[in-house]
């Protein structure tokens, strides 16, 4: 890593930390119903929505009611997205005349967007009409993010409240998140993107005459190029903020119309971690002890920063196979140096590596470089960050509630080690909480390992592999990890738009989203019904550096122990073989 890389990383991290407190406080105000500007100005609009929808906004829900409302809303949303794709040929805003998407791909995409995964088996500009992009996909970008945040808020209420049954009202949390937090932020970001040159139009693609005609595969000369356009800025803003990641164009954020300038690159990277980081502060604020929020954020940084540094170093070092060929991979005045395969020359090493790490950490899944072309260990880092359970930042809301499940496991072990029944934030952690936290930790592992094992055994699975050997294995492992982590980024290389992958991945996305949300809500319900134990000197403090370190170790050890064998057979052996050649 050189100075340039270091300074860019540092600026990014500093800006991120600076915005955590104001944004976190703002969100806490919104969820606690305190006046915070937008909710005063649009308060009557919020009430109007409840009136229209017949929502009793002052009635609290038990965890079961909350979960039922959430499931109902998400399953209905999923069906709507499916139906729109299947019928987009008959619907308006289709200047390119896109026809119906195939059933398995539609199903995959519907699940993908409803679960905040945004795995894309299709190419946006060549598959989806503007109507589908706007009313199916962009809408889900908002509400799937809001769903994750609502679950987090319900869990926070579980810690804050004592001896009650209710966790708040799902509809209220959903509406407030969407109209007060996500829409204003997305509006600001999309305006900035439009200013920087991201298109926002309903007109069909532009046509340009090529200066230098080329020949296509059939040998016919091509003199014109269609340049895809559309309402891109509005979708890109929320895809970054809501940790969705589903690009408007197939090339995602590597496409110059999604990510035209270094400034948009910085803004988009910032928006990936913005809400997951700020929600930590919201958590601390709402539980009445901000140190608790900072502690969780510290855990995230403790894992993120070494990954960032390591990734940049690996990519900057370049490919050892090129050294014997006499290829110059040193950074200099005229080149970024390092491993530039699969990276945009205009973005360079540090911006591509940083993006690959933050998008994996945050369950975002948008990419500005092809992860398939990263060095083996450079590709392992995002893969492993996903496999940690998407709890290092993770999805908006979902990352933090996932991390809290790990906190439950950590305080349980730590509590035993100091000889006390474990407690967190004054709530006793008992068998039921352990069961639910265990499910949250366990389920993604099941949906990563088993489908990967299945895919490497059956022909339908092996057919999708582009590269033989360990790299092909990594491609499959990455795909299922991405689906189970609700991340959505792809390792590329794998041809996943087949019935087998579309359905297997969709199932992984669905169960790893909702089979985690339901246990989390059940845990919240159980916690809310408990008393709050007062703090004594015998209580284990959960905001100290020691606990931060311990929690980090728990997350790392669980992730490492589960995936070490698989990673050894994929990226690790690939890197070792690569190094072996260079010696």
């Amino acid at each position: 890593m050189n100075w340039n890389n270091g300074i860019q990383l540092l600026i990014y991290l500093i800006v991120l930390v600076v915005v955590v407190k104001p944004l976190g406080t703002f969100m806490a105000y919104i969820y606690e119903g305190r006046p915070a500007g937008v909710n005063v100005w649009f308060g009557s609009f919020e009430k109007w929505i409840y009136r229209i929808c017949g929502v009793k906004d002052d009635v609290g829900m038990t965890w079961k009611e909350y979960a039922f409302a959430l499931m109902l809303f998400n399953v209905l949303g999923l069906i709507v997205v499916y139906v729109i794709q299947r019928f987009q040929g008959f619907l308006p805003f289709n200047p390119m005349g896109m026809t119906a998407v195939s059933p398995d791909s539609s199903f995959n995409t519907a699940v993908s967007f409803a679960t905040n995964t945004n795995w894309q088996g299709y190419g946006g500009e060549s598959t989806m009409s503007y109507f589908t992009q706007m009313l199916a996909l962009t809408v889900q970008n908002f509400v799937s993010a809001a769903t994750g945040m609502a679950v987090l808020v319900a869990l926070i209420r579980g810690f804050v409240q004592k001896q009650t049954k209710t966790l708040g009202n799902f509809w209220v949390d959903l509406v407030r998140t969407t109209i007060y937090i996500l829409i204003p932020l997305a509006l600001v970001l999309s305006l900035a993107l439009v200013w920087q040159g991201v298109p926002q139009t309903l007109s069909s693609s532009a046509t340009a005459t090529l200066l230098q005609p080329v020949k296509d595969s059939a040998g016919k000369p091509v003199i014109e190029q269609a340049i895809a356009l559309g309402p891109a800025a509005s979708q890109i803003a929320i895809k970054q903020l809501g940790t969705n990641g589903g690009g408007f164009f197939n090339a995602n954020s590597a496409h110059p119309y999604e990510n035209p300038t270094p400034f948009t690159n910085f803004l988009e990277m910032l928006s990936i971690l913005l809400l997951p980081a700020a929600l930590c502060y919201t958590f601390g604020f709402m539980v009445g002890d901000r140190r608790q929020g900072w502690a969780l954020l510290a855990v995230m940084f403790l894992i993120l920063v070494p990954c960032l540094v390591w990734s940049v170093c690996i990519e900057q070092q370049g490919n050892p196979l090129f050294a014997p060929l006499g290829i110059d991979q040193q950074a200099g005045a005229f080149q970024a140096g390092g491993n530039m395969e699969g990276k945009e020359a205009r973005l360079g090493i540090v911006n591509s590596s940083t993006w690959s790490i933050v998008t994996a950490a945050a369950s975002n899944g948008s990419v500005n470089a092809m992860h398939d072309s990263l060095m083996p260990l450079g590709g392992m880092l995002p893969l492993w960050l996903i496999q940690l359970g998407e709890v290092i930042f993770g999805g908006v809301g979902s990352g933090l509630y996932g991390l809290i499940a790990f906190v439950i496991v950590a305080v349980f072990i730590a509590g035993l080690m100091i000889g006390r029944t474990p407690e967190y934030l004054g709530k006793k952690i008992e068998a039921f909480e352990m069961k639910m936290a265990s499910l949250v930790a366990l389920i993604p592992h099941v949906f990563i390992l088993i489908p990967t094992a299945l895919a490497v055994m059956i022909p339908a699975g092996k057919a999708g592999i582009a590269n033989p050997g360990p790299h092909g294995f990594s491609e499959i492992l990455y795909a299922f990890s991405s689906a189970a982590g609700n991340n959505g980024s792809a390792f590329a290389g794998l041809s996943a738009n087949t019935p087998f992958y579309n359905i297997a991945l969709a199932l992984g996305m669905f169960f790893c989203r909702f089979w985690l949300i339901i246990p989390v809500l059940a845990m919240a319900g159980s916690l809310a019904s408990k008393k709050i134990v007062p703090v004594t000197i015998g209580t284990l403090p959960t905001h100290t550096p020691l606990f931060v370190f311990f929690l980090t170790m728990v997350v790392l050890v669980v992730g490492a122990l589960t995936f070490f064998p698989a990673l050894a057979l994929g990226p690790i052996v690939e890197q070792l073989m690569l190094n072996g050649v260079s010696i």
Binding site: K531, F550, P565, I572
Partner: protein
């Protein structure tokens, strides 16, 4: 103090031998299924045993010798875990059988009605039922638990408590409960039976120490869930490794697919067998330590809860202060010399054997140098205390009648003799009463000489004990019937955090409920019947063995030593129990890191030679690497048996430091230790050409 309940050293052959036999019996799948981690090991072991037999017939998935070696060590793993449990149980059983010896079938003298002197019939103790009345005379064994309805006797309870000094049992009051299996040394008792045979305290104690009725405690259940999850995760890891390996072999074009034997070995090494195998032993040993502290707990749940106690309620009398008040000062009436008062007070108390009387004699000697005289030498006649007169004293040969007693009684006495109670003394009396003391007036015929101030004496060393509790994060509250002023002064002297004055049973109950609704876990010690409701409400309730039957039934622990500060030890044992579980869980999981570095390169180096780089321990061969990991995994159980039986040491210190220390020892130690252990085993295997 002689303790008979202590059990000998760890390697007592009388415990070891049956434990070895039990370890075989416990291989029964019906027993193993109670422990999910070890059940998985059992299934894996049966699988490799089958594979070995298959290999003998020439179709093995690995060399027969390697399969046999791995299989044998897997059986050892199971055996060692069973052995740990059997050892813990054996220690309990040894105690139970020593207790059982006291449960002899003794003849009992059954009375037809509850009074001394009616005729009795001799029956067998086993035929007695609740509410029967029996007579117990000098030398008789008390047949079964009961409550004294008439009489007073000294009883040898050493069989139960291990305490050789006899105790007094009498009707009424707080010392009316008698326990079956103890012996009356003098006098007689009429006892109403309170328990049917088989339900007595002794029976209960035996079943507790044997662990027959042991149920999993809430924490144990939560930990089992966590361990099961780890087991499932590692099951997933190893099961999916087979297809991964198959794919890798076909991709690489050479090498061999990982054998099922190695997969089972990897699985057993990864799942938390250390804690899984030792978990039952830790629980049983926790109960065992409780019994060695002479505390009988009615449930493991209470032992565990003890580790969480936030608030401790203690009765003042007999706990914080010595049971009896002691003389601390003589205050003479106007015109009377101090020596005259001290002399008279001493004379009146010479033959007074009550603790108050003795303390007056001692004070007179220590402070005023009045030496003890023999009552016979001065031709005095002792007048004992009666409930009617409320005074005691002496009639001297020279006609002086010296009396001491309650202020009111002396005032009436001197009035009767034509005297009067001096006005100046009345204010002194009031001051003493307000300050928490008790005034005793002393008179010589009709002349009041002054008062003796009696005061509660805080037990020596108690302040340090409370300071220790505070370091554990436990708040102490004193409960007393005294007025708030007195209570405050004693609480301050004893170093308590708070007090409840003028406590009634209702007030105690209310205090406990308030504490509990505030989320606190309340422990209480008590002995009287009036403590029973509060004991029943408290989360951890330690009844004194000397206390009433009602108190013992209401509590969830009985302290055989009747030492109220025993709660400190109870709390420590509870904490130790949890700490041992937590530390071994951490250790067990931390061990996995090294096992990966041993087994993964060994299993896949044939497919991908580059993976040999992960063999950072430089283990000799793939076979020796796998075998070393399996052997280490089995041996570590044996190595940790003493720790699981004696518990992780607990010292009161802030939670953060405790966690830091234990993480360093069991977390970091758990990562490093197996690297060394596996390497050593590998070297030994190579030296002896075992692989």
């Amino acid at each position: 103090m002689k303790k008979t309940n202590r059990i000998g050293s760890l390697f007592d052959p009388s415990i070891m031998a049956p434990a070895v036999i039990d370890s075989f019996k416990k291989l029964d799948p019906r027993h193993q299924i109670k422990n999910p981690v070890m059940f998985v090991v059992l299934i894996g072991t049966c699988l490799t045993s089958g594979l070995w037999i298959q290999a003998l017939f020439g179709k093995g998935d690995a060399p027969a010798g390697l399969i046999l070696a791995i299989t044998l060590w897997l059986w050892f793993t199971l055996f060692f875990a069973n052995f740990a449990e059997a050892m813990a149980e054996g220690r309990g059983k040894a105690q139970a059988s020593s207790l059982r010896k006291t449960r002899k079938d003794t003849p009992a003298k059954k009375l037809i009605k509850p009074s001394h002197g009616v005729s009795y019939t001799t029956v067998s103790a086993t035929s007695l039922r609740k509410d029967d009345i029996v007579l117990i005379e000098t030398g008789d064994m008390i047949p079964i638990d009961g409550e004294v309805v008439e009489g007073i006797a000294s009883v040898d309870e050493s069989a139960i408590t291990g305490e050789s000094a006899p105790v007094i049992r009498e009707s009424g009051g707080d010392r009316s409960a008698v326990t079956g299996g103890t012996r009356v040394l003098s006098d007689w008792l009429v006892v109403r039976i309170t328990a049917n045979p088989g339900e007595t305290f002794l029976d209960h104690m035996i079943s507790m120490v044997e662990g027959a009725k042991r149920q999993k405690t809430p924490n144990e259940i939560a930990l089992s869930i966590l361990l099961s999850v780890f087991t499932i995760i590692f099951l997933l890891v190893t099961v999916t490794l087979l297809p991964f390996s198959m794919f890798s072999v076909s991709a690489a074009g050479h090498g061999e697919v990982i054998s099922v034997t190695v997969l089972v070995a990897l699985l057993v090494c990864l799942i938390p067998t250390t804690i899984g195998g030792l978990l039952p032993a830790i629980g049983i040993a926790g109960m065992d330590r409780m019994i060695q502290a002479n505390v009988i707990s009615t449930s493991g749940r209470a032992v565990e809860a003890a580790g969480d106690v936030d608030v401790l309620l203690l009765d003042k009398t007999g706990t914080i202060t010595l049971g009896n008040r002691q003389a601390v000062a003589f205050i003479p009436a106007y015109g009377v010399s101090l020596e005259a008062l001290a002399d008279a007070a001493q004379l009146s108390s010479l033959a007074d054997e009550t603790p108050e009387g003795r303390s007056i004699v001692i004070l007179a000697k220590q402070k005023y140098g009045i030496r003890e005289r023999q009552i016979q030498d001065i031709e005095a006649k002792f007048v004992p205390f009666t409930a009617q007169t409320k005074m005691s004293g002496v009639d001297l040969g020279d006609g002086r009648k010296i009396r001491k007693g309650a202020v009111e009684a002396i005032e009436n006495y001197v009035k009767m003799l034509g005297g009067a109670f001096p006005e100046d003394l009345k204010s002194t009396v009031e001051t003493i009463a307000k300050g928490g003391g008790t005034p005793l007036a002393v008179c010589d015929n009709n002349r009041v000489l002054g008062v003796v101030q009696l005061k509660d004496i805080v037990k020596g060393g108690i302040k340090e004990r409370f300071a220790e509790l505070r370091r554990m994060g436990i708040k102490t509250i004193m409960i007393t019937g005294d007025n708030p002023l007195t209570a405050a002064s004693i609480a301050a002297e004893a170093g308590m955090d708070d007090f409840l004055a003028q406590a009634t049973p209702e007030a105690k109950l209310k205090l406990i409920r308030e504490m509990q609704s505030g989320g606190r876990l309340v422990a209480m010690t008590g002995d009287g019947t009036n403590d029973a409701p509060a004991l029943a409400q408290a989360d951890v309730a330690v009844a004194m063995h000397t206390g009433t039957q009602a108190a013992k039934e209401a509590g969830n622990m009985v302290d055989l030593d009747s030492n109220p500060t025993k709660l400190i030890e109870v709390v420590q044992i509870g904490k130790q129990l949890l700490m041992t579980r937590g530390s071994l869980t951490t250790f067990s999981i931390a061990n996995d890191v090294s096992k990966y570095f041993a087994i993964i390169p060994a299993a896949f180096v044939g497919t991908y030679p580059a993976l040999g780089a992960l063999n950072i321990m430089h283990l000799a061969t793939p076979q020796s690497a796998i075998l070393s990991a399996v052997i280490f995994n089995a041996l570590i159980i044996i190595v940790l048996i003493p720790l699981s039986l004696f518990g992780v040491p607990y010292r009161p210190m802030p939670a953060n430091r405790l966690l830091r220390d234990n993480l360093l020892i069991y977390g970091l130690g758990g990562i490093i230790a197996p690297f060394i252990g596996i390497k050593l085993i590998d070297m030994i295997l190579v030296v002896f050409h075992l692989v």
